[in-house]
């Protein structure tokens, strides 16, 4: 008679359990193994050349050797993007086809940029955004860009000129808006949020290719991606904002209008503006401004019409110094402060009226501030903010306190 020890049974059970769990989880482990993955750094989605109803999806990869210590930071081996394009009926099927082509599974968890063409954006991005946000690999902080040119061409020309590591460059360049205000960090998370609520409209970063002749470029007010005085080895330019109404591209904002947007959204830490010199009407002064306090936006509904009050508080210092400058004189400082304030008031008002009257698109999320004017959601929904935004009136107040010059305060 065989006496079966209960401890033996327990050990056999544990071993069987471990084996079965190992087998069960091995599939997932294999799928996450680095040997089986291709990391996508950026993805472009465009309308297919062959069929208007199909998509042309561009994937940008990087060789893993680009990140080895031998190549990192040496600068000798310049980064060369690996760009592959596929035409398919949807983003998912494009990924699937590319998986088959590459012989590895595409991993989007390190995808930093999602580029949509202007043509596709005009048709509506809703379906693509929902698809991407449904993908667990796409992070909500992934930047979303609308390219005025072909997305493949744009990605091919977005090579960093100084930076060796493209992932670092892709992560850093949208943040330049924090110290210029001419571009902004537009993420797919925010885009999706704005698209699915009734308080805001979506926006994306605007990109274009620098043309050889900038006929339209006249002054700073017209600077926009693809139409700027910048001449560089890198042809791709990222300046301005693409404005959406629901999920469709409605229009574009110039660099200066983007600055107004950034001030309203408190997305800019410091920026530079040029204002007329009070001592010389033909001359301009460069003033560095700092966003001391978050912009206050208040909405009152008067006679069923939104009345929006904007209060901006900035401090600054004068960058331009020339012979006979006196930045210790309070009268001069007050004069420059007033010039700057009225200049900013006018550009912010222009921006607000442009989004309201021309684009009917509340990309500054002013609707969110209007919520407290209503007692219930039914009241708010019946008011239909997205449509009423076009009737809004704006009162912009900018308070600028120019404190001094920089190192030199008097000449």
């Amino acid at each position: 008679m065989i006496i079966i020890n209960s401890k033996l049974i327990k050990n056999i059970f544990i071993i069987l359990l471990l084996i079965s769990l190992t087998l069960g989880f091995s599939k997932s482990y294999i799928s996450y193994s680095i040997d089986n993955l291709d990391f996508v750094l950026a993805m472009g989605v465009d309308v297919a050349d062959s069929d208007e109803n199909k998509l042309k999806v561009t994937f940008e990869f990087s060789k893993s050797s680009n990140y080895t210590p031998e190549s990192g930071g040496s600068g000798s081996d310049k980064y060369k993007p690996i760009i592959n394009t596929v035409e398919a009926s949807s983003i998912d099927s494009a990924i699937n086809l590319m998986n088959a082509h590459m012989g590895k599974e595409l991993k989007l968890s390190h995808c930093k940029l999602l580029v949509f063409s202007e043509k596709l954006a005009e048709k509506g991005l809703s379906q693509h955004i929902y698809t991407l946000i449904n993908n667990v690999q796409i992070r909500p902080s992934t930047n979303i860009i609308v390219s005025k040119s072909d997305t493949q061409y744009y990605l091919e020309n977005l090579n960093p000129t100084i930076e060796d590591h493209i992932t670092v460059y892709y992560e850093v360049f949208p943040n330049s808006g924090k110290y210029t205000g001419y571009t902004t960090n537009a993420t797919i998370g925010d885009f999706f949020y704005s698209m699915s609520t009734n308080t805001c409209e979506s926006f994306a970063l605007l990109a274009g290719m620098s043309s050889d002749q900038n006929d339209e470029y006249k002054d700073i007010n017209n600077i926009i991606a693809g139409n700027s005085p910048i001449q560089s080895e890198r042809k791709a330019q990222n300046l301005g904002i693409a404005v959406f109404k629901d999920d469709r591209l409605e229009g574009e904002l110039t660099a200066l209008e983007t600055l107004s947007f950034s001030i309203l959204a408190s997305k800019v830490n410091n920026f530079l503006v040029s204002v007329p010199n009070p001592n010389n009407s033909n001359d301009y002064l460069d003033v560095y401004l700092f966003d001391d306090k978050n912009t206050k936006i208040k909405v009152n509904i008067i006679n069923d019409t939104p009345y929006v009050t904007v209060d901006v508080k900035l401090s600054g210092e004068i960058g331009t110094t020339s012979y006979n400058s006196d930045y210790l004189n309070q009268v001069t400082l007050d004069e420059i402060s007033n010039y700057t304030a009225s200049y900013l008031e006018s550009i912010i008002s222009e921006f607000l009226y442009k989004t309201s009257k021309q684009y009917h698109s509340d990309i500054s999320c002013i609707g969110k501030r209007a919520l407290r004017e209503f007692t219930t959601w039914t009241d708010y929904e019946n008011y239909n903010w997205k449509d009423r935004y076009r009737d809004a009136f704006f009162d912009v107040n900018v308070d600028v306190n120019i404190k001094s010059g920089s190192l030199i305060t008097q000449t």
Binding site: L21, G24, I30, S31, V168, F192, Y193, L371, T376, W377
Partner: protein, 363 residues
């Protein structure tokens, strides 16, 4: 069950674990969906009701020192009522634990184990809780007590790190879908405090039963603060959860935490903590089922029936055809059962038992 007694802190963590486990999945999302922008107001209101209810529970238990609800049901309706109530509580706890397990596993399958069958993930949890339940109840509670502060701190961390993404304007319109929805039909959100069910079984387990009042009030108050915090994170960050269903809202919030380009993807750490606390919740639920079963069948040793209950949990978890079914059970059936069993039935039973007690005393 009576072999190992709990102190106040351990008992509080025992009640808290229910709110924590449910908040990881659909609880904050459901509350937001029902109450919209009035969710915080509603939760504050419901929290006050829950605290009052827990005080009532303490008062009703006062006449039966050292006895749990099963003992009280025996006093009220004899063995048959004791058995019926025991089976009802076992079914409720097994159902709520298993369905939550299924949904949790479905969620982590989507996030981390795309090519693994959900049955394997469930089996992993079941294996873990069978091992835990084979040990002493006390060791289980001790583990929960150690993990609980980490979970609470992680939630505070999640709240603070996402402050930059918050928009407090989203708590307006203040009344959400109106006064009736917030304060009348909104009472149904009492199910968020389903941890009260564990209070019914606490008195015989306490080292010092006179602390029952303190435990009831503190545990429900902390649960209230915790639920308000989780709901606030979701409301202030993603108002679109009113229209859109996402599997794990708190996981989505954790994905937004970034400190420059150096510290990113912290959600993995959160998920690890949530894995542990979820296993604690499951093992406590199963432990309770086993102890109730032991009580109604007069078993002396519960160890041989542990695998049976493990298989029961596994079977219930695998019963829903897909995530849609299990999600329906969690979002629709579970709140109804909680309100029915935890609040109405148990409250009535305690009340009737007290009336009988007073009558008997009067004679």
């Amino acid at each position: 069950m009576t072999s190992s007694k709990f102190n106040v802190k351990e008992a509080i963590s025992l009640v808290l674990v229910v709110a924590v486990a449910h908040s990881l999945l659909s609880l904050p999302k459901n509350l937001l969906e029902e109450q919209k922008s009035a969710v915080i107001l509603n939760i504050i209101y419901v929290s006050i009701l829950a605290i009052l209810f827990s005080y009532l529970v303490y008062k009703l238990f006062k006449s039966f020192p050292g006895k749990d609800i099963i003992d009280i049901s025996e006093f009220l309706g004899g063995k048959s009522l004791k058995n019926i109530l025991g089976i009802l509580f076992i079914s409720y706890l097994a159902f709520s634990g298993s369905i939550l397990l299924r949904n949790f596993c479905e969620s982590i399958k989507i996030v981390y184990f795309p090519n693994t069958r959900v049955a394997f993930i469930i089996a992993m949890f079941i294996a873990a809780i069978i091992i835990v339940c084979s040990l002493d109840f006390k060791s289980n509670i001790k583990t929960t007590f150690i993990i609980m502060p980490i979970v609470l701190l992680s939630m505070v961390f999640l709240f603070i790190c996402n402050l930059k993404n918050f928009s407090t304007d989203r708590m307006f319109p203040i009344l959400g879908d109106g006064f009736t929805n917030t304060f009348i039909t909104g009472i149904g959100n009492l199910y968020a405090f389903s941890g009260i069910v564990f209070l019914y079984f606490l008195p015989p387990l306490l080292k010092n039963p006179s602390k029952f009042k303190k435990i009831s009030l503190i545990s429900i108050s902390i649960s209230a603060v915790y639920i308000i915090m989780t709901v606030s994170i979701i409301l202030f960050m993603f108002a679109y959860f009113v229209n859109i269903d996402e599997i794990m809202p708190l996981f989505s919030a954790a994905r937004y935490i970034e400190f420059g380009s150096f510290f990113q993807r912290l959600e993995s750490i959160f998920l690890l903590i949530w894995f542990i606390i979820f296993a604690c919740y499951l093992s406590i639920t199963m432990m309770y089922c086993i102890e109730i079963f032991k009580k109604i069948t007069n078993l002396k040793d519960s160890k041989p029936i542990v695998p049976f209950f493990g298989l029961l949990f596994l079977a219930i978890a695998l019963m829903p055809k897909n995530y849609a079914s299990s999600s329906f059970l969690e979002t629709t059936a579970y709140p109804i059962l909680t309100i029915g069993i935890t609040f109405i039935l148990s409250g009535l039973l305690l009340l009737l038992a007290n009336i009988k007690f007073v009558k008997q005393k009067g004679r």
